[in-house]
């Protein structure tokens, strides 16, 4: 398709739109370019050539758009490190040929579609399985669905190691890729074992695409054969009943079966009631035996330490005194002692 529009000029990228400084830079750049054009092999020339302008971090498109000024900067270091580091820019940017003084922009078509077509050309298998997904269906319907670059990014695509992904990668995928659009489902999954374990570096646990498939993005449903298959990758003994395990329950299980909510309510209440009663009882006990709590509140820590020392000295020395016979100020051992003396 690149060829189709190649005759058309760069519509908006006239050097006139750039600031004076930029213009100077561009002119210098073009001069450099001319030299490069003669000396460098094609692919390298393409990359280096495009980066003369696009390698500048401050290079922005000032055309008013919805999202404000758009950065046209391409970080050459990350690009070279990416799997496509050896490719020419124009391998993907098909409409862009390094012509002088300005290159071509394909305005006929949405660049997203161009991107899919570019990816398709070199990755037909991936494209085919993507094509079966509801993501593709949704994209073709109204463009909100993800395309290759929504998940993979564009200039920093990393090598994929199927089955050997690190936990960081899986977590990043869940949080920043799938989770970016499926925030609700990520939020519901993050309190579940698999994602929690991933977060702590357990690479064997499942991330979104382990269960849903990374291009097919199956809509899983409990009890169905695809779901059983999905679980069987890691849980060989899985059967249909097993898949009724709910991966995406809301915090506090608001969307769960009533049984789950009942259990949650019961045990949370039990937890709170037992601990509150236990701690209250203990606190009163502590106060009775040591007078510490009110002591500290009233008399400061000095009394506490003095009291502990006194306690050590007194330990196991049976005294005939009771609380009342002591000087009122002196902390007492009370309780056990009273009885001892009795």
């Amino acid at each position: 398709m690149g060829r189709r529009c190649a005759e058309r000029g760069h519509p908006r990228a006239g050097l006139g739109r750039l600031s004076r400084l930029r213009r100077l830079e561009a002119v210098l750049g073009l001069a450099l370019l001319l030299c490069l054009a003669v000396a460098w092999p094609a692919a390298a020339r393409d990359v280096e050539g495009c980066l003369i302008c696009h390698g500048d971090p401050d290079f922005v498109d000032t055309t008013p758009t919805e999202g404000g000024p758009k950065s046209l900067y391409v970080d050459s270091a990350t690009f070279v490190e990416s799997v496509h580091g050896e490719l020419a820019c124009s391998a993907c940017h098909k409409g862009f040929v390094l012509t002088i003084p300005q290159h071509q922009v394909d305005v006929e078509k949405d660049f997203r579609q161009v991107a899919i077509e570019a990816c398709e050309a070199c990755h037909p298998d991936a494209f085919m399985s993507y094509q079966t997904s509801s993501h593709a269906k949704f994209y073709y319907q109204d463009e909100a669905g993800p395309i290759c670059i929504s998940c993979h990014g564009s200039h920093a695509i990393k090598r994929v190691r199927l089955g050997e992904e690190t936990a960081e990668f899986k977590m990043e995928m869940a949080r920043d890729s799938c989770g970016r659009c499926h925030e609700d489902y990520f939020d519901r999954a993050r309190d579940e074992f698999h994602i929690k374990a991933l977060n702590l570096g357990y690479e064997r646990a499942a991330t979104c695409f382990d269960c849903h498939g990374y291009h097919e993005n199956l809509a899983l449903h409990s009890g169905e054969p695809e779901t059983v298959e999905a679980c069987r990758q890691c849980h060989p003994g899985a059967n249909a009943g097993f898949t009724y395990f709910q991966m995406h329950l809301e915090p506090h299980f608001l969307n769960a079966w009533w049984g789950v909510r009942a259990v949650y309510l019961f045990f949370s209440t039990l937890l709170i009631v037992v601990l509150v009663v236990g701690i209250a009882y203990t606190t009163v006990h502590l106060q009775k035996e040591t007078r510490i709590i009110l002591g500290v509140m009233g008399g400061g820590l000095g009394r506490l330490f003095g009291f502990i020392r006194a306690l050590e000295e007194e330990s196991y020395r049976s005294t005939g005194e009771s609380d009342h016979e002591r000087e009122p100020d002196k902390p007492t051992r009370s309780g056990a002692d009273e009885e001892g003396g009795a």
């Binding site: 929690k196 196991y316 049976s318």
Partner: protein
């Protein structure tokens, strides 16, 4: 402890060993489990790294849990032995089972707290000791069962719907927090921070309790032991 004191052997080697194993395995599970539950908290990653990752922590957790359940099973057998073969008096003063006196003791304790009466005269086991003992039964039944269900999730799936795995996780987590909270705030206080034993009561490790202390703490038992001639009156 001072020399020349009289001691009474309150816990025999079996009691001490059980408690020791229970304590170590409990600490082991406490240090390996919560980092997963609170995965997103700042300390979780550090703790997991300490164990060498989730996999190792999981392994330790399981070994610990195995021993803990082992203690539980042996204890069940031990109880059966006393009840069935030795025909021990289940609700007698030497028993750790709850009985009516415990309720009176509880009321007596509360009265004592507010200076409305004497400290109750406890028998061999105070009601809070009994409660701690009983809580282990409840805890192991709950945490242990749910833990095994999660350990072998597909086996669980063979018998019940997978939704019970969600249920199991709720129970496992909540009960664990309850147990940890109880041990930290109630059990540790009751057994080590009380006045007559502060700062640490070694009786559960040494088994030997100074008669002096016994007299203060468990007067009814003391009286009974003196009567039976098992200890010299102080």
């Amino acid at each position: 402890m001072e020399e020349g004191k009289d001691y009474y052997v309150r816990f025999n080697w079996y009691h001490r060993l059980s408690h020791f194993v229970m304590m170590t395995t409990f600490i082991g599970c406490t240090l390996t489990g919560p980092p997963l539950k609170y995965s997103y908290d700042f300390w979780a990653q550090a703790m997991m790294n300490f164990w060498g990752g989730v996999h190792n922590a999981g392994l330790i957790h399981r070994v610990m849990a195995g021993f803990m359940v082992g203690v539980f099973v042996v204890h069940a057998i031990y109880l059966m032995y006393w009840v069935v073969i030795r025909k021990a008096d289940v609700f007698g003063p030497d028993s750790i089972f709850f009985r009516k006196k415990d309720l009176y003791d509880l009321i007596g304790m509360i009265k004592w707290f507010f200076d409305r009466g004497e400290r109750p005269r406890f028998e061999r086991f105070t009601f809070w000791e009994k409660f701690d003992w009983f809580a282990v039964f409840w805890g192991i039944a709950m945490i242990g069962t749910s833990g095994f269900a999660l350990w072998f999730p597909t086996v669980t799936g063979q018998f019940v719907s997978g939704i019970f795995l969600n249920v199991a996780r709720i129970i496992h987590g909540d009960e664990a927090i309850l147990a940890i909270g109880w041990i930290l705030f109630v059990h540790l206080y009751n057994s080590h921070l009380r006045m007559n034993v502060f700062p640490l009561d070694p009786v559960i490790f040494t088994g030997r309790m100074p008669v002096e202390h016994l007299k203060h703490d468990k007067r009814a038992w003391y009286d009974r032991l003196v009567q039976e001639g098992k200890i010299k009156p102080q």
